[in-house]
């Protein structure tokens, strides 16, 4: 057991923080989210140059072979900087699924452009009625003469408005399968949607969209299992994004209360406020512990994975909300204004609580796992494989 970052990991962390601090300040972000596309192509290609887009993929697929810990470091920095470009949606979630499900040819064709930054993916899976039941899919794929025809509606596709390639899930022969669909395919309509945190998604409608036989990503025994695992990887990444935001809120609140003078002394000199900030710090610490457990669980067997990932989303949902609310309160009216990043962090945390399952969904999923006494009472330490 060792929970210390390696020197290489610390370097990655530092370089990610430095890059975003220099290139992605709050003003820059406001420009991006105010733009037509809500996306900065320059930043995306710089991320490609830094190797971020290659990070999670195996070396044989042109990647850097980074693991969940490396991804978590990028996500933590992304959280603090409030990056709206679709790193999670395009690289971790959709890219990860191509790596798991694609044939050698499919991987070579799709991942090459993704890693180079010239192409972006989006996973179009959840539907309006899907809720937290990932298997509840009504989009359909029908066999055609030279491939398949896909129909269905996919609202709020994460990263959808920036994507040139969609991975669309649809039921085929009674099971859920995943298909590669070009954004300019005939019969596909993608409408950009503005999200609560300033980022974008798209509402996707597929009306008898023809795709070739080679569009089927069929490299797993059960596609749905892989989709669930991919969402767990994404949720672990979200957990660390939230941790980055919480620490940023903490730092901003400490800095503000030290500077702001009322009644002849800095706000930070009032014990009533000191203890509230200390309580925020307690929650930041706890959230970090939970997020780390999620990160170290994504490659574990399913129940262990759920315990780590959904436990973290449940715990972090609760404590991050509290930290964000307190940060606004301790900033007074300034925290209520869009001129400061406080509100933007607050809204991003709110979005996270409602992405890939709500806080309550994850608590329920976690609760079902820890009903098993062996899981509940067992140590977090694991036997070597």
């Amino acid at each position: 057991m060792d929970l210390n970052y390696s020197d290489e990991q610390l370097l990655l962390k530092e370089s990610a923080e430095r890059f975003l601090k220099g290139r992605y300040d709050f003003e820059k972000r406001n420009t991006i989210i105010g733009s037509e596309t809500g996306f900065d192509a320059g930043i995306w290609s710089e991320m490609a140059d830094l190797g971020w887009l290659a990070l999670p993929f195996a070396e044989e697929n042109g990647g850097l072979g980074g693991g969940a810990v490396e991804i978590s470091l990028i996500m933590e920095a992304i959280g603090r900087a409030l990056v709206v470009e679709p790193y999670l949606a395009s690289i971790i979630l959709a890219g990860g699924l191509v790596e798991k499900l694609g044939s050698a040819d499919q991987k070579a064709e799709i991942l090459g452009g993704l890693i180079a930054g010239t192409s972006r993916l989006a996973l179009a899976h959840a539907e309006r009625q899907t809720g937290f039941d990932l298997g509840n899919i009504t989009a359909t794929a029908m066999k055609s003469a030279d491939g398949y025809t896909i129909s269905g509606k996919k609202p709020l596709v994460p990263g959808g408005s920036f994507a040139d390639i969609f991975l669309v899930s649809a039921t085929f022969d009674g099971t859920v399968k995943l298909f590669v669909v070009a954004a300019d395919a005939v019969g596909l309509t993608s409408t950009q949607v503005k999200l609560v945190d300033g980022s974008r998604a798209s509402d996707l409608v597929l009306d008898n969209v023809p795709v070739p036989a080679s569009a089927l990503l069929d490299g797993a025994a059960d596609t749905l299992d892989e989709i669930e695992a991919a969402h767990d990887r994404a949720n672990a990444a979200l957990a660390f994004e939230a941790v980055g935001i919480m620490d940023a809120l903490m730092d901003a609140t400490v800095a503000y209360t030290k500077e702001r003078v009322q009644f002849g002394k800095p706000l930070a000199a009032f014990q009533a406020l000191q203890h509230r900030m200390a309580e925020m710090a307690v929650k930041c610490q706890e959230a970090r512990g939970s997020a780390l457990l999620a990160t170290l669980s994504v490659d574990a067997p399913r129940v262990t994975r759920i315990r780590g990932v959904s436990g973290a989303r449940a715990k972090i949902g609760k404590v991050s909300r509290s930290v964000a609310q307190e940060a606004i309160q301790l900033h007074g009216a300034m925290g209520f204004s869009q001129e400061m990043p406080i509100g933007a962090w607050f809204r991003r945390l709110y979005a996270i609580e409602n992405t890939f399952g709500t806080t309550a969904d994850h608590l329920k999923r976690y609760g079902e796992i820890v009903r098993d006494p062996a899981m509940l009472s067992g140590s977090l330490l694991r036997e070597p494989v």
Partner: protein, 400 residues
Amino acid sequence: MDLLMTEEEVRFRNEVRAFLGTHLDEGLTRAERLNPSFLADPAVGLKWQAKLNHKGWVAPSWPKQYGGTGWTLAERYIFDQECERAGEPHFRGASIKMIAPVIMRYGNEAQKSFYLPRILNGEDVWAQGYSEPGSGSDLASLKTRAMLDGDQYIVNGSKIWSTLAHHATRMFALVRTADTGKRQEGITFILIDLKSPGITIRPIRSICGTHEFNQVFFDDVKVPVSDRIGEEGEGWDIAKYLLEFERGGAFAGGMLRAMLARLHRRASEPLPDGRRMIDDPLFMARFAEIATDVDANDMLELSAMSKVQAGGNPGSVPSSTMKIERSRIRQSIAELAASILGPDALRWEEHRPLHELPEESEIDEERKVASAVYFNSRSQSIFGGSNEIQLEIIAKTLLR
């Protein structure tokens, strides 16, 4: 970065598990289940200590040269997890976890060779003499006085909240030897034989119905200078060192998890009206939330342990966070466990210790002690540096 045990650690865990399976008998675990307090009933604790002493496992955190195990941190963690899972009586209190590290660090050779073996074999049981009626969180305001008279001190004053002092043979105490300079500088650390003339012990019954705390009065009590630890005026530094052991020196995750597992067992049994709490969504939501808290605390413990293993230290914010969260988790488990008693919550069994009463089913006995466990849990956020003191420590680090 990983959560994996080594093959060697797995072997060690299995050895511990096997030992506990053979030696930790039902009488001991039942007594502990029926104990609402932080520390085991002394008679029960000493019985278990004797068995462990035979194996050489009384003091996992002590170096080998003093009769400890010499285990790595990971082994100590695993040992603690296994002992908690098995439900061992919590006998490692002021003797093993508090005064022993102080004697090892600040004691002279004579003190080490006399006192340490007597702690291991249970001959000496120590009580803590820190708080006074007028000095709690503001410990440096303490007034119990020790006047030097030849080769002995004459001690007058009073200490309070001394856990199990009525069963203890000795007390370590902070006393005032000077009034000049900073008030911290006039404090000295001494060891007091509780059989000395001039000592009176007054029991304080706690809200959980148990006599565990005491007030101890000193009326011209003679303490040889040779029973002073360190120099005169060095007491404050020693006290701070000791509090580190009280605070971050132990793992609590195993105990919290064991408490939660017990609650789960009880919630899985039908209530008199036939319902099972484990099927109740409101109960399960609260239960699951607490379980996520336990997981997070475990990760903080393991992170702190990793830092220490790598030669660092956990830092004051994580240490105080753990102190606060452990107390809150323990309190919330106890509160939830008491909340499902229904009308039985109104019944109050006065007899102590509860394990002397005729045996009932495990579930009925858990129900019998649940209210007292909840009442007792309120002390968790007070002792060892109250949660408000921990918040002060965190705030000081944040805002410096």
